[in-house]
Structure formats: structure tokens, C-alpha cells
Symmetry: C2
Subunit: 416 residues, 2 copies
């Protein structure tokens, strides 16, 4: 009962002046007003499902009730001259994502899930790798769907390549002459550990190995520089830091130098050079558009399109600086209590090794997170013992993070 | 000017009593009120994009503003005991579609585009076919994306099978001992010609050939009986007769006898037996759920879920009877004028050979359709010379169809 009582006041818990001062100086503080966050909750799970914004809610109503309901089939081509037609919607969204990941608009294809895009990326990478290189290397602890997709493709290709899983820290040592490509997730979904994309891409390139990066916890969380790093392929998620809505369309990056050689395994009519010509043979559209497969899910894709506008006036270096300041603050506020409360920080303290989340090990992590959520402090649990808190610089204040740190401490003290 | 004037009155054109009598007797007449059709338009393009219904508009707002905006990540599991959670959403939609296609709920997987599902179906079919059968047979005039997907898979598998394209009428003669599977679209998107799914499935089975049916223009247009026909695999579209919204998720049917042997080429975490166990190895979920790949696009999938409720109280035989009566009436009303107006009916007159659309050839089809659409009579043009009119028994009245036939005649007479 003490816990519940203490946490009932979490939203209004007094915040020290030095924390309020951080918010007063925050150049992104005004963005929070764009988001429709529920009352009575501190939501630290934007790394699993980003929050709804006003512009997205309005856009979903508009696309449903006017674009679909009123204009019906006409919306596929309406406004084509201004690039406002549904046919060009994947390209418009691609251009917005390109800026966030350091790519050119024609290097990004939007649509389908991250899993399906991982399949496309791997098939494309293996298709351009020299035939004598037959190993697909990956982190043994990669996000499960990356591993499953690689397994499925490996089985489909009937042994044409071998899936080799090694600890993330040993990937560099395994970039041998038999390796075609390496599939890595930049930010570990459990620990928030961020790999050095530029260094690993350079190392792989030097070894003749193609890189396939999963940016699920990177895009929209901090600037990614794919072109600058010389990365080959990448995929990423629309529903985490991009705030595109549950199951939002994902994206695929294909470096321009691979466009003409990389095979399009999932070759559908929306990636055809002229879909309505209804030609019998597949002729790929220019650039990464060829990797758009079927008809885009317009409702979900429109939500993502509108969500991305939240980034339009955001300097990504400022976004990163705030993300680091938020995660530093959270870690710092909890540090003194960790040992006493059986919390073990598993997120790296070094800035260059950290994404935009903070994770702790706790022996009763599952029960603790259930209790936190019941009290209105929403993070998530990841098996076997991880408490995960996503800090999103677009809609979190330092006051939120202060109260969250206090809330965690209160819950754990009540259990101790 | 004469044309425009005549068509300005199209919506209020007097309808003869015998046509009104047809509407008075229509057991599905009440369904029309569910749909939010725009004013001033007769919409005969539901075979390209089905119309918005009230329940879908309400559901999209609810899922966006409450389920996502308010409950956020909790919606993935909220209401799981009642099967109302997002995790089970693909299964709920699958069960509703199963009824429309003569399948069991566990034989249907929902999500991804029709193109992606075609890839899954073909990979699964080729995976269970005897290895000595190396030909994938298809209609040379199949819907382009089916051909493109087959080409992409063929290239990916590096010649492990040959794609053989023959005229639809000759498929039967090509079901040889070297054929692994046959990919056919039941209803031709240009002509509306409907293949005999039961007869062809039986013939294929007798020849040891697996069937992969594309039901894009079948599901929701008339009853399909996949299990009764002994069909092996099928895919279909959520945004045509199912009215699920632009680019709505598609579906995949896998007959139960193939579940344990058919490979899951696109093996993602949402098709895993226990997604949140985060296991390193892919273990398929029971039944067709294993073919669900990545995180479902919840906004689009919820729209489809709500749209399918329009069928809940509909007897599919009644739906078919009305569809045939509508297409018969449209054909009958235009018949006397066809020769004079250079219209050539390309939709079969035989009921068992017809889907739920009526198509004509016309030498200036593209210009004629543009004129019809400008006048508020929305069908569509398909290259090179097809005027296509989709008649949807859930929201069309006989009065609509009468006025549409008169409208087509008026426009063409003005050009003659």
C-alpha cells in the first residue's frame, strides 16, 4: 500500500529546480505538445511503440474519411503533380527517412515489416556478394526475428550459404574470406548497447564483407550516417522512435552502388517501372523503389508519413544531445541506489556505446516491471531479467525522467 | 455539353418500377446503409478499392486514438483473455476470412501484401512438391504481380524451377509429370472470367500438381470453397470486395495437410510459437499462423477486421445470387446498344464463368472511362482497351446499376 500511495503522486512529485532548469533550457521542449500522451502515465516505452501525435491522429482521420471514403480509387493518382498521390506515398516517406539515416531518398524503400525487409536485404546482399563467399555472419544474440529470417532464407536457398552466429564482440574476428555479409543490429534491444556503425562498416568493407544493419532502435533515436559509413544495406522500424503507429511500415536502405546489381527477391508490381502498364515481365523501377513489393498499406503508411513530420524542424545533433542528457540523468539519479536495490546497469556508460534506452538487470525483473506499469510507470520487461526504459527526446522532459527514476526507486525500496 | 447535362441528372434519373421492384425484393438492400459512399457518384470500382463503411471509420478512430494513443504498448496484450489483443488480431481476421473462402480458421494467415503472400505460397508449394517436379505453371496473362513474384522467386532459387507461362485455356493440357505447382488467378482482372476452381483443383490433384489460387477478385465477391475443392494454397486481397481499405493486409491459405511440411520462407517473430520468449531458433507457431511474418500493421489490419463484420450476417449464396442478378441486369440493359456503340462484352455470359464485374472492349476505352469518371460514374480502364465495372452486392442497388448502364449509353451516344 505504501508503494501505491507513494506512486499515486508520481505525476506531481516535486521536481528540484536544477531539473526544471534542464527543461527550461531544452531546445526540443516544445515538441512534447505535439504528442497525445495519456494522463497519469509516464511512458518510457517509445522504443517499443512510439506515442501518437496530434498530426498523426488528424492524418489518419483524413486519409480514412476523405482520401479513401470520399475520393476512393481516385486517391491513387490525385495530386500526382504535387507528389500527393498514394502511388508516390512510399517515395515521400522514404525521403523523410533518408534524412534521418544519412541516405539519399532514392536509396530507401518503405513498406512491409522489418522482418520482410530483412529478408529483402539479405537476399540482395547475398546476390551481390562474390559466389565463393558463402557465410552469413551475425550476432548470436541478435534480435530474434533477424535470426529467424536468416534461417528461413538459408533453408529456402538450400544450403547456398551458411548462417554463422557468433558473439557480437567477436564479429570483427570472424570477417573472413568466406564471409559474404554480416547482419548486425546497431542497438541491442535488451541492453541498449550501440555498435560503432562506421568502424564496423569500414572493417567489413576492408575484409570484402557486405554490411546489413538493423536500425530498429537507431532511426529517429539519434543520427545515423549510412552513406558516410559506406554501409551496404540496412533495415529499420517505423513504430519505435519514428512514432508511426503499431506495426508501422518498415524501411530498407540499399546503397546506390548496389541498385543495378542487387536482385529484387520480392519483385511485386509496386516496384515495377510502370505498374499500370501491366507488362508480363518485371522491369525494376529506378533506385530503391524497386524494393517496394505490393500495394502499400495506405492507412498505416500515412500515419508514418505524418509522424515523420515531427522531425522536420529537428536538428539531429540536438536530438542526440538531449537523448544522451536524458539517459545520463536517469542513470545518474539511480546510481546511488543500485547496489542496495539489486539493480545492475547493463547499458554502457560511454556515450558512443549507448542508444536511447537504459536497461537494468534485476532478479525479479518481470514482477518489478508489472508493478511499475500498474503504478503508471511504463517501461518493459525483456527476458530473462531486463528492465528496459526508452527515453525519447521528442516527448520526454527531464522532469519525466526524474520522476521515473524516483518511481523505480520507490517501488524497489518497497520490495527490498 | 449534351453529355454533361444528361449525366448531371444521373443520380436522380427516373428508374422504372420493375427495377425498383428488384431493389424492394433485395435481401441485402439494408447493407448499403453501412457504407459511406460519396454524394454525386455511382461507384463501380469496388473491385479495385472497396468502399468505406461506418464501422470501419469508427474502428480506425478507436484503434488510433484509444488503443494506440491511450493504451499504447498495453494494447498488444490487453483483452487477451477475450481474444481482443493486438497479438491475436491476425488470427481474428483469419477466422472471418476463412468463412468466406471455405477454409478452417487455422488454415489462414493474415498480413503483408498479396504479392508477399504469393511469394510465401509459391515457396511453400515448391517446398512440398516432389523434387523431380521442377516446373511452376501459370497463366501467361495472369495478374502481373503474380508473374513478377514468380520471376523473382525463380531467380532467387537460381534455376531450381522453371516458370512456364501458357494461355489460361491450355493450363489443363500442361499439367505434366514435370509440373510442381500451378499458379492461377480465379477471376481474370480484365475480363471478369471466373475459372472453375473445383474442377481445375481436381484435375491438378489427379496429375500430382499443387494448386496456388489467387483469389483477389473472388473473396467477398462470391463463396469460395477451398477445402471442398481440395485446393492446396491460396492468396487474396483485403482491399477489393472485402472493403478493408487502401492496401489492406492480404491473406494466405495453406491447407492443413501441408502445415507441418510446407517451409516458411519468410519466418519472422510473429509466426514463432512464442514470440516473446525471444528464442534464438525459429519454432513455427501451430497452423497457418506460422506464415504471419513481422509485426502486423495494426491500423490497416483493424480496418480490415471491422470491414469483415459486414459479412457476418450475410448468406454467401444470397450474396452470389445478387451479384449475378446485378451483372445480368447491367449486361442486359446495355446489350441492345452494344453493336451501335462499339462495345464488345468480354465478360462471359455463363454464370459459372463470371465473377462480380462486367467488362467491355471499346476502341477508345481510355478516353471513354475518363469521361465517365468526370461525369461521376466511376469504373476503371485496363490496358489496352477494357472498360471495367465492378458490381458489389453489399452496396449496389439495381437502381445504381440501371443508372450506370444508362450513363454509359449516354456518354457513348454523345461520342458516336
Amino acid at each position: 500500500m505504501t508503494t501505491q500511495t507513494a506512486l499515486a503522486d508520481l505525476q506531481t512529485l516535486p521536481v528540484p529546480p536544477e531539473v526544471l532548469a534542464l527543461d527550461a533550457r531544452d531546445p526540443l521542449a516544445h515538441k512534447r505538445g505535439d504528442f497525445l500522451l495519456p494522463e497519469g502515465v509516464i511512458y518510457l516505452d517509445g522504443n517499443s511503440l512510439g506515442a501518437l501525435s496530434r498530426r498523426v491522429a488528424a492524418r489518419v482521420r483524413g486519409v480514412t474519411e476523405q482520401e479513401w471514403g470520399e475520393a476512393l480509387i481516385g486517391s491513387w493518382t490525385l495530386g500526382a503533380a504535387q507528389g500527393r498521390d498514394w502511388m508516390a506515398l512510399p517515395d515521400r516517406v522514404a525521403a523523410k527517412i533518408a534524412r534521418l539515416i544519412g541516405a539519399q531518398p532514392d536509396e530507401v524503400a518503405v513498406g512491409d515489416s522489418t522482418s520482410v525487409n530483412t529478408f529483402k536485404a539479405l537476399a540482395a546482399a547475398l546476390g551481390v556478394a562474390p559466389p565463393e563467399r558463402r557465410v552469413l555472419l551475425t550476432d548470436a544474440d541478435n534480435f530474434p526475428t533477424d535470426l529467424y529470417v536468416a534461417q528461413g532464407l538459408s533453408a529456402l536457398l538450400d544450403g547456398r550459404f551458411e548462417l554463422r552466429r557468433v558473439p557480437a564482440g567477436e564479429v570483427g574476428a570472424h570477417l573472413g574470406a568466406d564471409v559474404a555479409a554480416v547482419l548486425l543490429t546497431q542497438v541491442d534491444y535488451r541492453t541498449g548497447r550501440c555498435l560503432d556503425l562506421a568502424a564496423i562498416s569500414a572493417q567489413a568493407r576492408a575484409a570484402g564483407v557486405l554490411t546489413v544493419w538493423d536500425l530498429a532502435h537507431s532511426a529517429g533515436a539519434f543520427p545515423v550516417e549510412l552513406n558516410a559509413a559506406g554501409a551496404d544495406f540496412a533495415v529499420g522500424c517505423g513504430y519505435k522512435y519514428l512514432n508511426g503507429g503499431p506495426g508501422a511500415p518498415a524501411f530498407l536502405y540499399v546503397a546506390r552502388r548496389h541498385h543495378d546489381r542487387a536482385p529484387v527477391a520480392l519483385s511485386g508490381w509496386m516496384g515495377h517501372a510502370d505498374p499500370f502498364e501491366m507488362a508480363r515481365d518485371y522491369v525494376p523501377a529506378p533506385g530503391a523503389r524497386r524494393f517496394v513489393t505490393g500495394t502499400p498499406m495506405v492507412l498505416s503508411l500515412s500515419a508514418l508519413d505524418a509522424a515523420l513530420d515531427a522531425f522536420a524542424d529537428v536538428d539531429l545533433q540536438v536530438l542526440r544531445a538531449k537523448s544522451l542528457a536524458l539517459t545520463d540523468a536517469f542513470i545518474g539519479w539511480l546510481d546511488p541506489a543500485c547496489a542496495r536495490l539489486s539493480l545492475e546497469l547493463v547499458t554502457p556508460r560511454g556515450h558512443h556505446e549507448r542508444g536511447s534506452q537504459v536497461s537494468y538487470r534485476h532478479p525479479q525483473a518481470r514482477e518489478v516491471m508489472a508493478e511499475l506499469i500498474a503504478a503508471g510507470l511504463v517501461g518493459d520487461f525483456r527476458t530473462p531479467d531486463i528492465l528496459r526504459f526508452g527515453l525519447t527526446p521528442l516527448y520526454h522532459s527531464f522532469a519525466d525522467v526524474y520522476r521515473a527514476a524516483r518511481g523505480v526507486q520507490t517501488i524497489l525500496e518497497a520490495r527490498a
